[in-house]
């Protein structure tokens, strides 16, 4: 049986493709899937609209075999995906949706519905919408409006005002996901499993770049110790921008997205343990009951295309002051699990973030997971995000609060965690100290909110001014108080 070591293997629509970077002139390991496709004259349906995952014109669908040997279809932004990330997957493009029968083109139901509902005007965003709708079609039958909107949030259209596209989704998604892909699924599954079986670590080298894609965590740790300068990536939703926007040459990359061991979600008696490689989309689904504040934050995090690639480890590792999961993890008092080849550390999230985009991680270490203590009985945890646009936007101010009251309505403990108000995510410690031990009422909260107003010194930038951020930070506590009364 063939072993994959130096070549990336995936199924492009219905054909097995192998890409070997040694003899490729046009591709490198950091070529995006978008640019790879557009190199072919017959794969130009996929469009570049922004090269940063904000418009969805480049949306393609990735088919992956799950634990039950079924193919799961996910829409992703091909501009944010490096070619090797396709290894062992099926890449579905807009050109493969329609079929030809008796010399007639039979459009896929999602395509036909878009035509019938006048869902395209200039047509440039349309292939991306088609692919998001296709993923929706495969995953839901008669989806609710909420599910439809969520599926389309990552696709921008400047012509239609979206209404006809929503109607097209309603019209199309009624066949339990059945289509011509259903017929070939078994065959595709077998090939993908075969590729998986035949791969341990991909090691892709060109004159200027080395790209490792280990399948086992142990191997990743070893590679990490050997390549302290390497960039660790999983979803690449942030790292890819270095290539697409800044045109940087990434010399050494360790891609941990192929390690299944890092994609766990475990409910323990006292904690919930999340693997660093778990996609935010899966985390969103899994955390709905146990960690509602995290779930809520993930509903307004990026878009489905981004969440399907992005991971919790990545969001923590970038240590951005506007990283949306950080205030939530602070409020839950989570800890980060960090491992090297011969050591394992567990660091509280408050100690993990050191400074603006700096973390307590050494060059031989990898973030492997997050331990989230289950909130104590009666603790109220809630997250908030203020952004210019409600969805697919970066926070102007975000916050997550955890409150525990005793029987007399006195604050036993409180965490007020904020993003967007300082160089790092930060707790409003002064306000916390003020509130603890006091009665939880309007007057105290108003006073505490004024402390918050003074406590932070946010910046003015492209998103909002300093004053707006202060007011928002202050008001969110008042909002939390109001929400806490109905909890």
């Amino acid at each position: 049986m063939k072993k994959y070591k130096n070549a990336v293997a995936f199924i492009l629509n219905d054909k097995l493709v192998e890409v070997n970077f040694n003899d490729s002139r046009s591709h490198t390991p950091t070529t995006t899937v978008l640019n790879y496709l557009r190199n072919f004259p017959f794969h130009r349906g996929v469009k570049e609209g922004c090269a940063e995952g904000d418009c969805g014109a480049c949306t393609v669908v990735i088919g992956q075999v799950n634990e039950e040997n079924k193919i799961i279809y996910q829409a992703v932004d091909s501009c944010l995906m490096f070619l090797p990330m396709l290894h062992g997957k099926q890449l579905i493009t807009v050109e493969h949706l329609a079929r030809i029968e008796d010399n007639k083109i039979i459009l896929h139901p999602v395509q036909q519905s878009l035509v019938d509902k006048y869902g395209s005007q200039c047509g440039y965003c349309t292939p991306g919408f088609v692919m998001s709708l296709f993923a929706l079609y495969k995953n839901y039958n008669n989806p609710s409006k909420e599910i439809i909107l969520d599926a389309l949030t990552g696709n921008l259209c400047r012509c239609t005002g979206y209404q006809p596209i929503i109607e097209a989704a309603e019209l199309a998604c009624v066949n339990n996901g059945t289509d011509h892909f259903t017929d070939s699924e078994e065959n595709i599954t077998n090939i993908l499993l075969q590729i998986k079986k035949s791969t341990k670590t991909l090691s892709l080298k060109t004159k200027k770049q080395t790209y490792y894609r280990p399948a086992k965590f142990k191997k990743a740790k070893l590679l990490r110790s050997l390549h302290p300068e390497a960039i660790i990536t999983s979803g690449a939703t942030d790292i890819a921008l270095k290539v697409t926007k800044k045109h940087e040459l990434l010399k050494e990359i360790i891609d941990i997205s192929g390690i299944e061991d890092l994609k766990y979600y475990e409910e323990r008696p006292n904690t919930i343990n999340v693997g660093a490689g778990l996609s935010l989309e899966k985390l969103k689904t899994l955390s709905e009951k146990a960690l509602p504040a995290l779930h809520h934050m993930l509903t307004v995090f990026g878009s489905k295309q981004i969440r399907s690639l992005a991971t919790l480890g990545g969001n923590i590792g970038s240590a951005s002051p506007i990283g949306d999961t950080l205030p939530v993890l602070i409020a839950y008092n989570a800890s980060v699990v960090i491992e090297s080849i011969d050591n394992k550390r567990i660091v509280n999230i408050n100690d993990f973030i050191k400074a603006y985009r700096k973390t307590d991680i050494h060059t031989d270490e990898i973030i492997t997971g997050v331990i989230i203590p289950k909130p104590k009985e009666g603790t109220i945890v809630r997250s908030y995000k203020i952004s210019k646009r409600k969805d697919l936007d970066i926070s102007t101010v975000s916050a997550c609060y955890a409150l525990k009251l005793n029987n007399e309505n006195i604050v036993q403990s409180i965490i007020l965690a904020y993003g967007g108000v300082a160089a790092t995510t930060k707790r409003a410690l002064e306000a916390e100290n003020f509130i603890i031990g006091k009665l939880w009422n309007q007057e105290i909260v108003e006073e505490a909110s004024q402390i918050i107003f003074r406590e932070f010194a946010p910046l003015s930038d492209a998103r909002a001014g300093e004053e707006m951020r202060r007011i928002a930070a202050r008001n969110l506590l008042v909002k939390f108080y109001s929400d806490s009364l109905t909890f």
Partner: protein
Amino acid sequence: MKDLQHDSAKLHVTGEAIYVNDIESNQQTLIGKILYSKHAHARIKKIDISQALLINKVHAIVTYKDIPGKNNMGPIVYDEPCLAEDEVNFIGQAIVLIAAENEYACIEAEKAIKIEYEQLEAILDIETAIKKNNLLAPPRKIERGNPDGVLSNCEYKIKDTLHIGGQEHWYLETQSCLCIPGENGEMQVYSSTQNPTETQILVADVLGLESKDVIVESKRLGGGFGGKETQGNHVACWAALLAQKTKRPVKIHLSRDDDQKITGKRHRFIINYEAGFNKEGQIEAIIFEQNSDAGAATDLSMAILERAMLHAENSYFIPNIKIIGKAWKTNLPSNTAFRGFGGPQGMAAMETIIDRIARQLKKDPLEIRYKNFYKISTNNITPYDQLIENNRLFILHDKLSESSDYWSRRKAIHEFNTKNKILKKGIALTPVKFGISFTTSFLNQAGALVLIYKDGTVLVNHGGTEMGQGLYTKILQIASAELGINPKNIKIAPTNTSKVPNTSPTAASSGTDLNGMAVKNAIDILKSRISEVVTVEFNKDFKYDLTKIENIEFENDMVFDNFHKDRSMTFKEVVSMAYLKQVSLSSTGFYKTPAVNFDREKGTGKPFHYFSYGMAVSEVLVDSLTGSHKIIRTDILHDCGDSLNTEIDKGQIIGGFIQGVGWCTTEELKYDKDGNLLNHSPDTYKIPSVQDIPDDLRVELLKDFPNENTIRKSKAIGEPPFMLCFSVWLAIKDAISSIGLHQIEPEFSLPATNETILLSIENLKNKY
């Protein structure tokens, strides 16, 4: 008329539709890149390209010295150099062009080019331009009655300033052009342009050629919205220079960030207004001073200012009015056309006045609107002396206020706001009256070329460009209806300057009005030629009861005598016969809009062929603690005359409305102190997403009100719905206002971002 689906819909959904960047060009094709100014205002002391020329795979580096023709791409006033010479006037101004085999080589070359600047003082906002008296052109004025005198005697007065933001077009397809050099210096240009003729002229100018040497073709645009009316010319000129120099095809497809940084946008405005009215809310006099940020060059700024002035009163009769328009020159990219073309900015101030009168008099804004609408037989003359005919304001108002349940919802909202402290609701009904025609009257003309082939199929050429608005589909419907044949047998050819010359831009919502009529004219000519042949044929066996040529009809793929229905032939047979009888089966067509004129000096005339009307009611929910808002419901009733295609027209209405909502709410342009645009990608520039449209959106077309004297009694639809967005903008203001129990005028500007909303509420709370 039967609605056809968008003629490219199947190509769109299968990914088969070809845009400029998708054209399969040969292996020799080079990639072009623009090196642009990093300073808002500077003297260029030195340009050193020597190192860049040595880079592998780089084929050409071009500066202004290499331009064989005129160094200009200004469409009207020649004040926009194609490449900067010794001075740069905005960040994003092109200085050097690079052609290389791939993007990487372009980037390397860009890094290797050294430019020495001497920085000069820059003007980066309207306020500074006013202080320095940096006018672009002499101010314009439209005046009627005695506004100054009447104002000073009015019992009630309002005087304030409104700040209105710009807008990035955010067409999904960034500016792109492919130029292929031909024999004898000729240039074939595939351009994403709304104005193929102007692209042709400017490319010829910079290359030192004539129009006959340059062919521009535009198959489809991935969105235009005015952003490719002149800005498409720039990319074409640059690509053409590189293609001419290298003698190889050159393609330029701007990256999103470059596109946002270097191209012009909707003009931001500062409008000073002063209004006088009586205690009933009847407006007696208004003075507007409109100040627009033209940017670094003229482009279309004066025409845009003109339209802003011509829409300053929106739907209201203002007996005494003065509108002063001033365009100011700043060190920013030259601002340009954008759906509405100044109309939205002009109307925003008028709607603000109405809203403020209502608050001041403690009346409902709708009452004030109704009171001041243009009337049917009196009070029906615009400030520029045009008579308002076929006024649709009252019918729209009556139908919409009823179908949207405006008054009972107003009451419910009041109750909601009394009960809720944090969440506040607001509602507004706003009208649009939009003038249709280019105000530069000679532009109101169009040409067509219709070819009938021997097999009975038809190729239609016209001067309009397809940018998603459905022009080709409407033209197809018109051709099909006029020829009486199945649309399957008709194709609309890509717009090409070698087929139809001297075309006007596809702009001013006029695409179908003008080109549709020109196509009809060509078809009428062809039909009369064919009818002659058919008449002879029908009559060859008769001596009495002859077929008359005027009774020949074209319908259902048949040509027949309407009085002797048995005398008929298929269209295909007729065409074949006409060919054998040596009849010409191709014809040009032409149309000019009748009787439009405008005297700029006097500010009077009949600039518009007719007006398009629409109204919208929006209800919003504002979170007073976060400044976020949500559109709960919008009802729209719009007047399209006899709609040519109801679904396409509805698509224009919803799309235009949502684009306007973006301008009014989340789309914000900020510059740093050096003149760098901070929002140059969708990361920070936020157009509406699918989550931002109203939860409940109800759109209806006004039925049974055909338009006079237009193609198949239809009305233009491209721009007017954009301005329905004021219903959302003012509903937000209404919600804010409720926090001060409508006693205090809230601070408000456009866009109403969550920041604007939050700061306004903060201010209101401090006052209250």
